[in-house]
Amino acid sequence: MERLKRRARASRKVGGVSRAAAASKRRYRTQRGRRSAAKGTRYRRRRAGAAPSAPIVPSARPAASAASLAAWRREGMTLGAAWRSEHPSGTPEELKSFVQERWTRMARDGSGKPGTAPGAGWAEIWERGRAFGEGAMEGAGLPSGFVPVPLQGSAAAVLYAEPMSARSLTSVLSVLDLLPLTEIVIVSGNAPESWLTAARSHPKATIAHDPDAVHADVGRALGAKLTGADIVLFVDGEQPAPAEELARFLWECDGRLDVALNDVSPEHRMFNERNAVLRLHEFLNVTLGRADLKMNTMASLPFALSRNALDSLGSALLAVPVKAHAAAVLRGLRIGTAGEVRGPSPFGAEAPPPLLRVAAGDHIEAWREAMTARGSRLHFVDRARNRGAVGGVTADAGIHHNPDE
């Protein structure tokens, strides 16, 4: 046991070597050296999993320990206190943008802060940001929480809100308040004046309201058009999602992905339990050559788009999310999953016929778009059939005339 502890200490030391030094060392490492380094990594992982007293951080790295998080918190408090003495009447929003800017710069410079350096795992980035942000707010004597996320660009959230559910809007906004967003665009239609007043009282909200009812998809497309942010996060206006999950969409869309999707596959594990709409999503991905995306799609919330994706797709296309999803694949945008937000599914194992009807229409539009770009069989060619033997196929029978075939 004692020997094991000693090895653990030794391996921790290896982990503590600065990134640049480790990189230069790696270049000269022998075969044997590489093997032992790998062993060390494995050992550290095992230890993190085995020790019950260790802080529960979902990361293989030992770096985000309780001690280091406390250090980040202290550093945040110092920053917050300094900011408060300079800005005695500063608002929470001003402090948040100050903390976000400082945190991003620290991450970019490295500044001896390996936790925010590129290559760090998301869990670690989140934990550190949270410790730093909470510390800063506390240091400035502000009660609200805030979690800075190192981002190169600006970020906004877009949501469509049912005008009748003011309470759920409040809870959704309280989660978004934790995130480094420059703007929150709330779209609604046919809302009462009291609801609008409540929505307008939010310091970052931009309200887009139509006196007539607005369809949720069209509402979000409209919201996307109204913001100029570099990353746009589309969230459910009814159902709050965990801040950590939402923040991850921003982080993934900051240079890694153009389209960051919600991974719903763990929620719908077995094929026979998936409804017809999910099957359409899955088959669309297969036919577009992206079976790896499973049943994940821009038609399910939340998702985030980079400025590149927004400019490439155009906001009007977002009114039919399935079609926008197909277009994103066809245009070669970088698409992947960013998080797993679970929520009560809008429908269970059976999709109600009216919803299936809209989903079917959306998919027909999406496939039409794809076939315009890739041909009728989307590169799934038929080389074997002798169609001449039956006089062509789709041209037969007169009633279904397709001259192109």
């Binding site: 007539d212 998809d217 069209v218 497309a221 409209l222 596959s265 077995m270 094929f271 026979n272 017809a276 709409v277 099957r279 359409l280 899955e282 088959f283 669309l284 297969v286 036919t287 079976a291 499973k294 009007a316 977002l318 009114a319 039919v320 059976e350 009216p354 299936l356 009807r357 809209v358 989903a359 079917a360 229409g361 959306d362 998919h363 027909i364 539009e365 496939w367 076939m371 009728s376 069989r377 989307l378 799934f380 038929d382 074997a384 059939r385 002798n386 169609r387 001449g388 033997a389 039956v390 006089g391 062509g392 196929v393 789709t394 037969d396 029978a397 007169g398 009633i399 279904h400 397709n402």
Partner: protein, 290 residues
């Protein structure tokens, strides 16, 4: 395609490809006392059209063919069995001829499912039953499909959806389910004209045209889009019956072909209708975002 050209009983604008001998011959009805098989029959009886046509595309399936044809001929007292032999070199052709079936011969493979379309074009029955030559399904099971069509179903499908109790299904299984969802028939689950056995009515054949049967998902889509009565009839576990195909899949997968067939079906649907296949999106007012 070097095939034996003759004139079909029903004159068709495209060149009919069929065996010469069947022109004036009474269609053999197996099992009947007066049924003339080969050679001089005892006495001529007035010719009557068969009620059921069983279509069996054949390409080198001598191991199962005799049994398949025996079951096929027993589905109904008035049955014609049409064998569409294509590219057969293993003696399947002789087995087919000896069985008394009508045999259409092609010296090269026609490709997947094309035999079904050719057989259907030649069929004279009121009900057409489609089976494969490499899979012996008892006549008693086949009869349920015929019976369903006799009772008013236009397309009687095998209630077989493939293995679905798993996280990731075969893309062909997915394609069948998704196409049914797109056609707003999720109740059909993974049942499809892609799978045998299935039976269709003469009305269905005339609506969709025999050629479309060469691309089964296309025929399936046409049938549902035309509001024909398409139903699941009974479960025949073709996955279980066919270990040979599992082996073939490993070497020469039909997966891309069948996925492409489903896309072809979707494209047909798209062309028949408006942008959304006639499925309007209600309250979306797209002009709001331009």
């Amino acid at each position: 395609m070097a095939s034996k050209i003759g004139k079909g009983r029903r004159r068709s604008p495209v060149a009919a490809t069929r065996k010469r001998r069947s022109r004036r011959r009474p269609v053999p009805v197996r099992g009947g006392a007066e049924s003339p098989l080969r050679g001089e029959p005892a006495a001529y009886v007035p010719w009557t059209a068969p009620y059921v046509s069983v279509i069996v595309p054949v390409m080198n399936e001598k191991r199962t063919l005799a049994r398949v044809l025996r079951e096929a001929s027993a589905v109904h007292p008035s049955t014609e069995v049409i064998v569409v032999a294509n590219g057969s070199t293993d003696g399947s052709l002789k087995i087919a001829r000896d069985s008394g079936a009508r045999v259409l011969v092609f010296d090269r493979p026609l490709g997947h499912d094309v035999g079904r379309a050719i057989g259907a074009r030649e069929a004279q029955g009121q009900i057409l039953l489609f089976i494969d030559a490499d899979m012996v399904i008892p006549a008693s099971a086949l009869r349920d499909f015929v019976q369903a069509v006799a009772n008013g179903t236009d397309v009687a499908l095998n209630d077989y959806s493939g293995p679905t109790r798993r996280e990731a299904v075969h893309s062909v299984v997915l394609a069948k389910h998704a196409l049914n969802a797109l056609l707003e028939r999720p109740d059909l689950e993974g049942a499809s004209m892609t799978a045998v056995p299935h039976a269709v009515s003469r009305r269905a054949l005339e609506t969709i045209g025999p050629a479309a049967l060469a691309v089964p998902p296309l025929a399936h889509t046409m049938a549902i889009h035309s509001k024909l009565a398409v139903r699941r009839v009974r479960h025949v576990d073709v996955g279980q019956l066919n270990p040979l195909r599992v082996k073939r899949e490993r070497h020469n997968s039909l997966e891309p072909l069948i996925v492409g067939d489903h896309l072809e079906a979707i494209q047909w649907l798209v062309r028949q209708t408006d942008d959304r296949g006639g499925r309007d999106d209600g309250t979306r007012k797209r002009w709001m975002v331009r």
